[in-house]
Symmetry: C2
Subunit: 363 residues, 2 copies
């Protein structure tokens, strides 16, 4: 989508055709900086430190990480090592495993001499497939926004989102935001409530940044505010992303999604998930019981980075010295609270049958 009026993706091949470039998302919204990945270690670090994040983009970055490894050494050991170093970078995103499995499936049978080229080709395809998937989600979600817009006789449709399931979380378009960008580009008035999404503030720092650059009206709110807005009819629709969705439609997404879904349910507000099918973990059914929840560094809660009035980037501690801090990064929203899963093939009810109707090859 647009940054300063210029169309960007989040990951692309450098001019040299070998190294890979990304937007360093840890520096947004204060600094827009592009960095280059030359090795599989660079790619692993970018995922681990969340220079790239968001389930689909993690998958794309991991695929290119394997390509970078094959460029340096296309042997079996190097392939195994690349897989090992990449799989441990983030425990939750199912796309990471999906992308690595894809790469292994393609590369393992090939002679070493053919692996490098094949790896770059498959990584590029994974990126293009992600764009196509999100375009599909955008089209199906657009119908929901059109219907809401008609019901409101053209008044802006108020959509609440959480965290960043925007184009920055994918290769382009985003999952939750694809319908929003499609509606905005089509001239349908929308207004987005952006929960700041503590810790890490990926709503306030990433979603607000990308919506602003693309010209979509939006308002940043504290995470605590969603319920109040819904009680007062100020939210027409919720759309969030997902890091991992079970075959039964439970959604593991950024911590706090469950609370917003409870509020939507309590107030009769439709709650949708932008769900690219590689994010479905067909091996799981009970999300709360089966999905391990990543605990991250306490400093993400106890410290905050921002810009001072004179433009310096500073990190400040915001909790008392000596207080313990816990940082659970995800929660699970049970399928019963979800109105629908917007996939690239259409909108499924959040249930095993709903998903299997759209993905009959999984029966």
């Amino acid at each position: 989508m647009l940054v300063d009026g210029v169309a960007h993706r989040t990951i692309w091949l450098s001019g040299d055709g070998e190294s890979v470039e990304i937007i360093d998302q840890t520096r947004l919204p204060h600094v827009f900086e592009i960095i280059r990945l030359d090795t599989v270690d660079d790619a692993a670090k970018a995922i681990r430190t969340m220079q790239v994040r968001g389930a689909p983009l993690i998958g794309a970055a991991a695929a290119y990480g394997v390509a970078l490894a094959m460029r340096a050494d296309p042997g079996d050991n190097a392939l195994d090592e690349a897989m090992t170093s990449l799989i441990v970078t983030r425990p939750t995103a199912v796309n990471l495993r999906w992308a690595l499995d894809e790469m292994r499936k393609i590369l393992q049978p090939l002679p070493a001499g053919e692996r490098c080229g094949a790896a770059y080709r498959r990584a590029a395809e994974i990126c293009d497939e992600d764009v196509g998937i999100n375009d599909g989600i955008g089209g199906h979600g657009l119908e929901l926004i059109c219907a809401a817009s008609e019901a409101k006789r053209g008044e802006p449709v108020n959509i609440l989102t959480h965290c960043n399931a925007g184009w920055l979380a994918t290769v382009d378009w985003g999952t939750a935001t694809a319908p929003i960008y499609r509606a905005h580009d089509a001239g349908i008035p929308v207004h987005i409530w952006v929960g700041e999404t503590r810790p890490r503030n990926q709503g306030a720092s990433l979603t607000a940044w990308e919506l602003g650059h693309h010209g979509v009206p939006h308002t940043v709110i504290a995470d605590n505010v969603g319920g109040h807005l819904m009680q007062h009819g100020k939210v027409d629709l919720c759309i969030t992303g997902t890091d991992r969705t079970t075959a039964a439609g439970d959604v593991c997404n950024k911590i706090g999604t469950y609370l917003k879904a409870l509020a939507a349910h309590d107030n009769g507000v439709p709650f949708y998930i932008g769900l690219p099918s590689p994010t479905i973990d067909w091996t799981l059914s009970d999300g709360v019981a089966e999905i391990p929840i990543e605990e991250r560094d306490a400093a993400e809660v106890s410290e905050m980075t921002g810009r001072t009035a004179d433009g310096r980037i500073e990190t400040v501690a915001i909790t008392p010295q000596g207080s313990a801090v816990a940082n659970f990064a995800f929660d699970v929203t049970p399928a019963r609270l979800i109105t629908g899963l917007i996939t690239e093939r259409g909108i499924a009810t959040a249930s095993r049958e709903g998903l299997l109707d759209l993905f009959p090859e999984r029966r």
Copy 2:
């Protein structure tokens, strides 16, 4: 309660017997500073800028504000002006109106020459009454914690709270925290989950600070985490405060309380409110429809203050330049989500009948 091992209240008469001292809560947890209020304008500013905050403490500070006004000029006009300047400082806290009504009731009939002394006496009484009320809440709430402790065979009772309804929000003991301090002081093992409470972070900056100084085990979490903890059996009990409670038991409290109550309800976790009776607004019945919600300065959301690694206090912007920001400060938790209201007279069900059983004089 204890600060560096020394017992403190949040507001008290200076050594000169006329001016009033408070803890500047806007500087916590980074700096512990006591400031002096000499005039009604000082008191109004302290309330408006949230150097003092929390419904009961706002009431006490307003009462002393009237006393400071009467010290300067005990005439009718000065009394009216003091009332006017104090009532507009914060729109939500019903205790503010209650304390000012109390002061007017005492002072209006008196000749000017007797007003100053009477005002200081009634302000001191309001403070002592608050301490007594919270002691009562502590006693009744202690029984709940004792029962939970027995059910867990002495394992720590995990209690989730939101915002600061601690002793810093009152004159002493706190409302939500009174049962916690009583249990801790009695040797019953407790562990408190402290939601940071964006914006203003009064959980992370005030509740964690006061629990830490008093030696109560606690862990700071992002506001988004409460639901996840409850899904996994890590919360035995929720206790929050309230800024205004309707006669039907709806609770207006810091934004986000409603979301935690929804999660508690969804997971069968008891959700209690520490409710001093002056916080009951007997004129209201439908909290969501009738209570106006204070919107505060956007900077509370878009900026964050903390301490740098080298000890400076800095304020940093955390949202993109150009993004709109909204700051709703409270929400309303409907009575149906509340297990009980812990008042100084006992624990009421959150309903008109429940409250009237404890306060029959209101029938």
